[in-house]
Symmetry: C2
Subunit: 329 residues, 2 copies
Amino acid sequence: MNRRIVLARRPVGMPRPEDFAVSEAELPEPGDGQVLLRHSWLGLAPAARLRMGEEASYTRPMAIGDVVYGQAVGTVLKSRHPELREGDMVVTISGGWQEHSVAGGSGLSRIDLSIAPAAAWLGALGTSGMTAYVGLLDHGRPRPGDTVLVSAASGAVGCMVGQLARLKGCRAIGIAGGPVKCELARDLYGFDACVDYRAPDFAEQLVAACPDGVDILFENVGGAGRDAAWALLNQRARVVVCGLISEYNGEHASGPSWFPILFKRLSLSGFILSDHLDRRPEFVREMGAWYAAGQVRMKEDVRHGLAQVVPSFIDMLGGANVGKTLISL
Amino acid sequence: MNRRIVLARRPVGMPRPEDFAVSEAELPEPGDGQVLLRHSWLGLAPAARLRMGEEASYTRPMAIGDVVYGQAVGTVLKSRHPELREGDMVVTISGGWQEHSVAGGSGLSRIDLSIAPAAAWLGALGTSGMTAYVGLLDHGRPRPGDTVLVSAASGAVGCMVGQLARLKGCRAIGIAGGPVKCELARDLYGFDACVDYRAPDFAEQLVAACPDGVDILFENVGGAGRDAAWALLNQRARVVVCGLISEYNGEHASGPSWFPILFKRLSLSGFILSDHLDRRPEFVREMGAWYAAGQVRMKEDVRHGLAQVVPSFIDMLGGANVGKTLISL
């Protein structure tokens, strides 16, 4: 049997435990080109919240009763895939919050434990790392000397953006919530500075941390932090809209004035990783080498068992986690 | 002597004739690498309004007493430029509202009357045409079958965007003010449809004209037309922010919600032609061929004499002109 966490009702605002239910189902059968997996790790990400509302976002909304969307690392139990065999370790972009899944297509990849341990394939070498990689390199187009400002700087995507920015010769400035996360961003991830958005003089601190303005704003959060950052954008700055986690639970804030988009010649781009899976081989090659050399790292927040998924997810949306939230099964 | 139109005071809202003054000055002397020109044509463009306010826009604001910014075609009277001789015909991006100017650098180019008459080098083959070319091709990235929505569709930039979109195999939909301009967009410029933003059922007409949504929004105007277009953007649509003429005289409207930027993976880019002058040789080659073959055209609104500059500029900002506003001197 397969234990799964399904959407019981649509959350209003911050999700509550009662919005989810555990359900059991027969093990699914892999179709042609697919594998059946037993999950050993689940990776939680805020984007799952987006799919729980009634509003269409990246995709159609989840239906009530659907397994919640998420990444997983697992072992192949049965294969009808031409290149994968029983016992192979893989990562799947859409394994879901469950013990088993059927997977195939471009979101399924073998992992190499000689490069990094299994859990890292959900973090630095997984969707979090690759989101940072594609977002910063392809959309942000960093040049040496640029100032890169990153919100949720100690989070799974943000910490990778900061480390990549430093590797590319940029100045990395973070925004995070509270002194613990700011210290982590500076000390573990090497941000040049990290500003606490809860500080009463946040806006002034941000100005002081960005004396040359901001060339790339890598936005994971939205809200007041983003609005303060907006004022600091230089001519020809790039705004990478990767996430708006502060808006996932509720009303959507109105946007920036159009006027600076024009006269500062800004470029803004929203993106979603699943549009860029063709970049994975290059990502794994480059990031794998940096990871193996100790040039990138990611703190993990590991919890154990399917019962921890929902409380961990709620913690993550509330900012109570530190690092990449992983569930070991 | 050189007669010039200078900024007498900063306009509040729509400029008034008293905001400008005619002044005379000695003919300037060209420096090294420069030429002295006698202007035969001035090209008026809304962007000049941007430089008249106190607020920095693309550049620092004009000072009171400065000659107003604008393009000009003229004849070389004196040359200290390595490649230009007395009698050569040239176009200059910053000739200004005056009878003579000193010009040099990348904004100065010889024109070829065998390709097109002098005035066309301020229109289809000038900054208007090149703005459309760089904006649509480089920022809009059109693909055959795309729907391209263009505001100020009968204007100097908009009409070129529509014609280029058609040449690239796209569906071109215009927005313009009043039936005369809409008819011009369809009949002279080949737009597939053009919607009058003054019509009471404008939003419904726009939806009907874009049954497959909008892949590229080429924004020249801002305001209510832009907001109606925003709702029609497809996944991965590109928004080229070329102008916001409806906001040049007054308050700046707030921007789009950030949320669709993220989940529709939109890209928005503001641009200014002067950042892209390196594209001119390719532009002249391609656009010159289309012009010579009759595949692109531009209606001209020609007025005579320096005294007509200010009233023509005010007409243009108010939408009372039809086609590219040119002053013959």
